[in-house]
């Protein structure tokens, strides 16, 4: 299939660096209107994304979302107020809307006191990262996907196009991140809840790479054709594939496992590590690996992130993610974390179990491809529950015996990645976040699979 970002479809002309120049122009013009000691912090995020939603290898919905959001923080000394507008792309209209917003923010500023936790970067450090892709036109992509789904039950979402994020301030700093990417997040369904899930994503569509993904999924579906078995609650030797690991780590991260504020307020799910010095297995090394992620390396107050922040080293706490507000509140330097202080480019160092023979390492037990809907049974103890989903198999002597009907687990991090962790695979899979809440995510993770001696299942 040919790949071209500037085809003839209506309204699909590439924007080049138009968005970057437009943002720069808007902020520069607004800077000239600031009064007194005002400082303007501005962030823009946007996308022009084509979406195709599929069910049973046919289209359910398809279309294009074109959106740009400008967020500003207007600062005067230690007092500040913030707001956002959608940008229409019409210069005079957007300028007027922004001016009106700033007027409102000045009025609101009269009601707020000094903010002792306000911190923004005052040493301009401009950066630019633009990654162009070669993405097929929507009709070509649809034809390719439907061809792969021919005779199969393909369900999922295809998304492609430009996404961008920018930071600028009235001190002259400019940061820009833009990429053209695609991702097809899909399943081949066999029946009921038996399916093989897969993801094909990147900057350059490659027919052969896609065909290899399709072939892998087709073989997984074949394995699912065997009669499924139901396991009783109990403890089972288990292999957690990288996507299953991601589900656990996302939950723990979202609730502050690696954030300074959650540590200081004792809300971290890894509280026992903080209070009692409990450790995970020495095999576990977790970091925020910005250098190898796909997220921008700057954040909304203008701070740049270091290439790497070690979070867990040989099973013990190392550093935390520190947002600018937390830095001020708790008197430590920021490391450029986002406000919620969760990793955007998490990496777990691989181990020594050969990935291509992980079945042999498992021997007899559960092979869990995906976990689903994790949450806490007891957050302070990092006791976590969730379900198996998609391709989960019972293995015997390293060979697939049968697919397993969904199981609920309920176990702690200190077992799963602690005293029950036998090893990690020797490769870490790059997992792009397919989330599209509000806009396409730029988060990612690089995770190995984990072999767990005994995992507790309860339902």
């Amino acid at each position: 299939m040919s790949a071209d970002t500037t085809g003839a479809a209506p309204g699909n002309q590439g924007n080049g660096n138009h968005d970057q120049a437009y943002f720069d122009e808007l902020v520069t013009a607004t800077t000239s209107t600031l009064t007194g000691d005002e400082v303007l912090l501005a962030n823009v995020s946007g996308e022009r994304t084509d979406f195709i939603r599929l069910n049973n290898s046919e289209v359910r919905q398809a279309g294009t979302v074109d959106q740009r959001t400008l967020t500003v923080d207007l600062v005067d000394g230690q007092r500040h107020t913030g707001g956002s507008i959608r940008l229409s792309g019409e210069r005079s209209l957007d300028g007027a809307r922004l001016a009106a917003l700033l007027t409102q923010l000045r009025e609101q500023r009269a009601f707020v006191a000094d903010d002792p936790f306000l911190l923004y970067n005052t040493e301009p450090n401009s950066t630019e990262r633009v990654e162009r892709g070669s993405i097929p036109e929507p009709d070509a992509a649809l034809a390719e996907i439907r061809s792969a789904g021919h005779g199969r039950d393909l369900v999922g979402i295809y998304a492609s196009g430009d996404t961008f994020q920018g930071f600028a301030n009235s001190l002259g700093q400019r940061n820009w991140f833009q990429s053209s990417t695609f991702n097809l997040d899909w399943c081949f369904y066999l029946r009921a809840d038996k399916a093989a899930k897969n993801l094909y994503a990147g900057f350059h569509w490659d027919d052969d790479a896609f065909a290899a993904k399709v072939d892998w999924s087709a073989r997984q579906v074949k394995a699912l054709e065997r009669d499924p078995i139901s396991l009783s609650p109990g403890e089972y030797r288990t292999y957690l594939a990288p996507r299953a690991m991601e589900e656990l780590l996302q939950l723990w991260s979202y609730y502050g496992a690696f954030g300074l504020r959650a540590h200081e307020t004792k809300q971290t799910p890894l509280l026992k590590m903080l209070v009692e010095g409990t450790t995970l297995s020495p095999l576990v090394n977790i970091s925020e690996d910005t250098a190898h992620g796909v997220a921008p390396n700057f954040q909304s107050a203008g701070f740049l992130r270091p290439d790497e922040v070690p979070l867990i080293v040989e099973g013990a706490y190392a550093q935390t993610l520190v947002s600018p507000r937390s830095a001020q509140e708790y008197g430590v330097p920021t490391n450029g974390a986002v406000g919620h202080e969760y990793p955007q480019s998490m990496a777990i160092a691989p181990g020594v179990i050969p990935t291509d023979t992980v079945g042999e390492a498992l021997g007899s037990g559960l092979f869990v491809g995906n976990l689903w809907y994790t949450n806490f049974s007891d957050q302070a103890a990092c006791r976590t529950t969730g379900m198996t989903r998609f391709a989960t198999f019972w293995m015997d002597d390293g060979e697939i015996v049968a697919p397993v009907n969904v199981l609920r687990f309920d176990d702690t991090a200190y077992h799963l990645l602690g005293d029950q962790l036998e090893g990690l695979t020797d490769t870490a899979e790059v997992l792009l976040d397919t989330s599209t809440y509000e806009r396409r995510s730029t988060d990612s993770a690089r995770l190995p699979g984990a072999l767990v001696g005994a995992m507790r299942f309860v339902l």
Binding site: V59, R86, G89, D115, R408
Partner: protein, 487 residues
């Protein structure tokens, strides 16, 4: 920035002009939102934030294809480009669609959230002082390590214009006014951290400043802080099979996850299988399946004044009316808009909804309510020999068929021989949806019936977050698998 765009005749003219009249069905769904976010954390005002969000989605069904284009460019040129893009997509997808059942409604009508007390009566300075006062009432003890009070207001105006080659034209104008008050207190001793909140963020709804009084926002902080501290010394919830009395602020989660989502017709039709999941409910169950005990009556009711997901029309333009989904325990109707009803041949409701102008409508819950029974809460407690009373959801997990679930609550009370004998921490319970509701053995009366909402329900590809409304009295379930936290 006070002129309401929805009142702009020039904008409406441009939207109407952009809509093609030579297609099977076309719509322009314009959304204009203004919101204010105020939060005090540990007695310190967090950065105040004001949000303006404006855009339109143009949708075209034509010749067996469907396309949409969402844009912030509301100029004549921008809207024309969006219409062209939607038409392009309809051409690309023609012959490849899972359904060609376009919406058919060209309704004309209006809806407005009922506002009893305007925010003029509580100006910004007073709103900030209200939050500061609540914050001070929450941070009453050194063991309370984090606390906060917040107030979010959203004003959402929506205009839906429709057209078709048959000459039909619809116009629906809806103005929503949402209020989301919130309180939280977290207490800690050693490895024990406990959090209590203001109904787990469920005490929200439509209206004006009166919403605060509706839920007792100004009087709740003291009890929230005291109960967070109480939980530090409370024993773990006992483990075993026992009766579980669910308070309304836990019932809403139970309804949402194990009735609402399983009854969504798009899940039953398979649209969500790659993300949110499928359903244990199959088409043949409608009209005969005993979903719960005879005490169970569940309505889809978008007409409840002030409930979070009340509206006059869904986003396909279908007029919204109150309908029973489960009657005396029997499943009678699913949650699906006109497109899903046509695809499945099943009865549904007006619940095709989108998060915003930049997302296409899909089947969503709106107000999904358990109708009150005849027992008092005291009578239900008195009937329990051995059990727990569970308050305020804080953990939810359910399988992709919406069957095997495990839910947790902030605060539990142990009941022995018909009396509450003390608080317990980390209470949770497990069950299976397809049998759980049959263990419903008591439904409290209207005195405990509480109208609430779930502000953030995620679903769909592309992902969408919408507010859903739930109302319920306290309900008693027999022989439930209950457990506590780690010892």
């Amino acid at each position: 920035m006070t002129d309401l765009l929805i009142e702009s005749t020039a904008l409406e003219h441009r939207l109407r002009t952009a809509l093609p009249t030579d297609v099977d069905y076309a719509s322009a769904r314009f959304v204009d939102e203004r919101s204010e976010h105020l939060r005090v954390r540990r007695n310190q005002l967090e950065p105040m934030f004001t949000e303006y969000d404006t855009g339109v989605m143009i949708t075209i069904w034509n010749g067996g294809g469907l396309g949409y284009a969402a844009t912030t460019d509301l100029s004549e040129t921008g809207l024309a480009a969006a219409a062209d893009r939607a038409r392009y997509w309809a051409g690309v997808t023609a012959g490849a669609m899972v359904t060609t059942a376009a919406p058919t409604s060209h309704a004309v009508g209006t809806y407005m959230s009922p506002v009893e007390v305007t925010w003029d009566t509580l100006p910004l300075n007073d709103r900030l002082e209200l939050l500061q006062r609540q914050s001070r009432l929450l941070g009453i003890d050194d063991r309370i390590v984090n606390w906060g009070a917040s107030l979010v207001r959203r004003e959402v105006d929506q205009l839906l214009l429709t057209a078709s080659r048959s000459g039909d034209m619809g116009r629906i104008e809806q103005r929503f006014r949402f209020v989301y008050p919130s309180l939280n207190a977290t207490a800690n001793e050693g490895t024990n951290t406990q959090t209590r909140t203001f109904g787990g963020h469920a005490f929200c709804g439509q209206g004006g400043a009166e919403v605060l009084g509706r839920y007792g926002f100004g009087d709740a902080a003291g009890q929230i802080a005291e109960q967070a501290l109480e939980l530090l010394t409370a024993p773990n919830c006992p483990t075993g099979v026992m009766d579980a009395l669910l308070a309304p602020d836990q019932m809403i989660l139970q309804i949402h996850e194990s009735i609402g989502h399983p009854l969504e017709l798009d899940r039953i039709l398979g649209d969500e299988r790659n993300y949110a999941g499928t359903s244990f409910v199959t088409p043949d169950m409608f009209g005969s399946y005993q979903y719960g005990s005879e005490l169970l009556n569940v309505t889809f009711d978008p007409t409840v004044p002030g409930q979070l997901a009340s509206y006059g029309f869904d986003d396909d333009g279908t007029p919204a009316v109150r309908q029973h989904l489960i009657e005396n325990g029997v499943l009678v109707r699913g949650l699906g808009g006109t497109v899903s009803q046509e695809r499945s041949g099943l009865p549904g409701v007006a619940n095709s909804r989108a998060q915003n102008w930049n997302r296409p409508p899909i089947d969503r819950m709106a107000n999904l309510n358990v109708e009150p029974g005849e027992s008092t809460v005291e009578e239900l407690i008195g009937s329990i020999e051995h059990g727990v009373y569970l308050h305020t959801n804080n953990s939810w997990s359910i399988d992709d068929s919406r069957n095997k679930f495990q839910f947790g609550c902030e605060y539990g009370q142990r009941i022995e021989n018909g009396e509450i004998v003390g608080a317990v921490r980390n209470p949770g319970y497990r069950g299976i949806s397809s049998t759980f509701w049959r263990s419903l053995s008591g439904v409290a009366d209207r005195d405990s019936f509480t109208v609430m909402g779930t502000p953030n329900c995620g679903k769909g590809e592309l992902n969408q977050m919408v507010g859903t409304g739930h109302a319920s009295p306290a309900c008693l379930f027999s022989d439930i698998d209950v457990f506590g936290g780690e010892e």
